[in-house]
Subunit: 467 residues, 2 copies
């Protein structure tokens, strides 16, 4: 490999190539689930340098693993343990290239941290709505490569829907200049959306033009207690009909999720009593917080009258509004404290969520009495984090070793029967690659393989991921 | 061709195959710009029949031209004059298969007329927002194959953004079952968006699952007179900031457009005096028409005070609101009455629209004194219909013959310099295929050709279109 590494060093300089030493930050994900060994870490500072790296990889047939903030959950951004894969970190490409306020768009490089993109938009008086737990360290390129979701999808869509254009380096080391601030452009195949969500297997995203939105005047949250998931779905319909696009959040938390939170993080106040399902609603109001409060009062009053809500609390201050969100966002931390669990990032048609949960809760209880389902998520998008924990007294590691495969099969079977997805927002990576091969429509898999072969004939881009 | 046609007839029956007789409705577009001659017209009644047609076409190497409502403007859906291409009409596949109100989605077949999709959604108390001039005869499949735009893009997006899933027959005659009511699904490459906008060159869309929205409680329109396009862009920013997502329409009409309207359709009342630019605004309100009126009064008051609006009129009734829209939608008819013209369906970053128009108006006036630019469109999306008519006294046909190529070059050069698109919402078809080859990023063209070859290796799907 010396000629390859020499050529790389010559092109990238000392700062652009790490060989030897402690590369662990690049070789393993933050949860240490997918440790590997890198041939080296390339850290290009420009699109031209990324293109040069890709050309050298082609020439020397070296596989490339692109890496952003390395915050993924499915093993998409770390090398395997062969020691033969080059990690291509986009971390040095972190510039916000431009903001066009009149066009409500922003162009930034792939390595730009999501929170920095949000801050740049806010600095121009506008909103970049993509928001997720890892926003302090995940990067725009990774968000696009995995089509990240998050908490604002109900109103603003996934990363895909927020993107207007891309700059991409192909497997052959050519640069596609597809940055665009256009809302409408029907000049050929939608290459942009093909690269988005392809997890670095078709090309390397180096920059993107993203949509910005007006900042809402005010945001307000409320909690609502529902007796069943069907009631929560009815509340969603009511909220959409009454609030329209002002409804920017609709999250559910099961009773068990909030009980876990009370045990693990007792300092967090829970304003409503124990309900079967607690819904967090958010309104983003273009007028005023009073207008949002009045809208909430009308909506929740109607819902209580109609019977789909038992009790409700509207945040009385911005601080309380954030505290409601904090409840929802702390569930993963409470789960981590409670020990390993089996995670499922699934989506279903909203109309199928209730029957899925009823069937699966019963099936798991029958399979292993005492099993704990921690179920929460973005009901407005049909996206549940349906996580399963060991019964009390059973060691989590043993539980996973003994039951993970069987429980995954049960969950994914029930999802598949309802036309759902086994990966709503986390992607496939290494974790779900085999599962995808078994469950995805075979015609779709055939099309995907044909596209992969057409765009990366040598199979060097993030091999062993996704396909 | 007899064995091929015999096999087709056996599979499709008498009702499913037209040979000989008057096929002109299938062989020419409605404007009679792209007349051709078909080998035959296949009219399959089911997805399985479409798949059978495609398998026979593969076997006998017969090119296929898919056709929906045949309302396109770029020659994408009629056969060439070789007499060797099979027209595949989806007109018999027109069922709305299902509506899922709780999931706010609808599944319909490709041949379903757009107005029928809208009506089915309304019947379930929901809104299908795609709306365009041809909605009484264009079909859902054609809307998706060309990624149709229309008047509601500002808020709801193009056909692409409204689609959740597709059923597609591949070139090999396999069926990809990608119908989905999912809002989030990160399981592999985005095949859906690859087929959307591919103009029938990668596969045949046979059905789609589309998003539905709550019906707005009320809609209200207003007209605003602006002294310049810069003022109109400033008004757009103000309207977005104040009204948020309630702003569902923002159209501009130049003074020359409204003057043409006054000449050709004098029965249409024009409430405002002659302004350099007249903006049509639409608010969709989740609360009430009074709330919308108050929002308009606040917005337009602020705009007049700020100087970007000279005069304004808010519709006083639903009838007047529709009359305002009717003004905007009648411009193409007035143009047709006035004779042939050179049409440009372009898009630009909103921030670049004003400089483009200033440069191009001056360039065209210098090129040919007396030339008339009829400029109108969806300013909120940066999409202009920048159409050019002959000077008074010059016969339109002669004008086109002498000047079309030169004027197109001027317009597209100026668009390209600003990162704009030569086809915002009408597609490429036959009309702009060569232009695309000259102007599209060569790396993008290479990627498109590689994908075409991977998915349609024999090149039988809508050949000579797009690529």
């Amino acid at each position: 490999m010396t000629p390859f590494l020499d050529a790389l060093r010559q092109r990238l300089g000392e700062a652009g190539l790490l060989i030897g030493g402690d590369l662990s930050a690049y070789e393993s994900d933050w949860r240490k689930r997918y440790p590997g060994r890198a041939l080296a870490v390339a850290r290009p500072a420009s699109t031209a340098e990324v293109a040069a790296v890709l050309r050298l990889c082609q020439e020397h047939r070296v596989p490339v693993v692109p890496q952003g903030g390395n915050t993924g959950l499915v093993g998409g951004s770390t090398p395997d343990d062969s020691g033969g894969q080059l990690v291509l970190s986009l971390a040095r490409m972190k510039r916000v290239r431009s903001i066009d306020a009149a066009n409500a768009s922003l162009t930034a490089e792939a390595g730009c941290v999501l929170a920095d993109v949000q801050a740049a938009a806010a600095g121009a008086g506008l909103l970049f709505p993509l928001s997720l737990a890892a926003e302090g360290s995940c990067t725009l390129g990774g968000n696009l490569a995995t089509n990240a979701g998050g908490t604002q999808v109900l109103r603003y869509g996934n990363a895909r829907e927020l993107c207007l254009g891309l700059e991409v380096v192909t497997a052959a080391g050519e640069v596609w200049q597809g940055l665009s601030g256009l809302r409408k452009d029907n000049t050929g195949y939608d290459l942009r959306d093909l690269f988005i969500g392809s997890e670095g297997t078709l090309g390397i995203i180096t920059a993107a033009t993203m949509k910005l939105y007006p900042q809402p005047r005010d945001r307000l949250t409320a909690l609502a207690a529902c007796a069943s998931l069907d009631d929560a779905v009815a509340l969603l319909g009511l909220a959409r009909a009454r609030a329209g696009d002002a409804l920017t959040g609709f999250e559910v938390m099961s009773q068990a999720s909030l009980a876990l939170l009370a045990r693990e993080l007792p300092q967090l106040q829970q304003p409503l009593g124990a309900a079967a399902w607690t819904v967090l609603l958010e309104l983003s109001d273009a007028e005023s917080v009073e207008h949002a409060r009045a809208a909430f009062e009308g909506l929740l009053g109607a819902a209580i009258e109609g019977g789909c809500v038992q009790d409700a609390a509207i945040a009385q201050s911005l601080q309380q509004a954030l505290a409601f969100w904090h409840l929802r966002e702390s569930i993963p931390l409470a789960q981590a404290q409670a020990g390993l669990n089996i995670k499922h990032d699934i989506s279903l048609p909203v109309s199928a969520v209730s029957s899925f949960v009823a069937e699966m809760d019963a099936a798991l209880a029958a399979y292993l009495p005492g099993i704990a389902v921690i179920n929460f998520g973005h009901l407005g998008d049909g996206n549940l984090h349906y996580n399963v924990q060991a019964p009390a007294g059973v060691a989590p590691a043993e539980f996973l070793a003994a039951h993970e495969a069987a429980i995954n099969a049960k969950v994914y079977d029930a999802v598949q029967r309802r036309g759902g997805s086994i990966s709503a927002e986390h992607g496939i990576g290494r974790l779900k690659r085999e599962e995808l091969g078994r469950r995805k429509d075979p015609v779709a898999l055939g099309l995907m393989r044909a596209i992969k072969k057409a765009l990366d004939p040598q199979g060097l881009l993030n091999p062993g991921r996704l396909l």
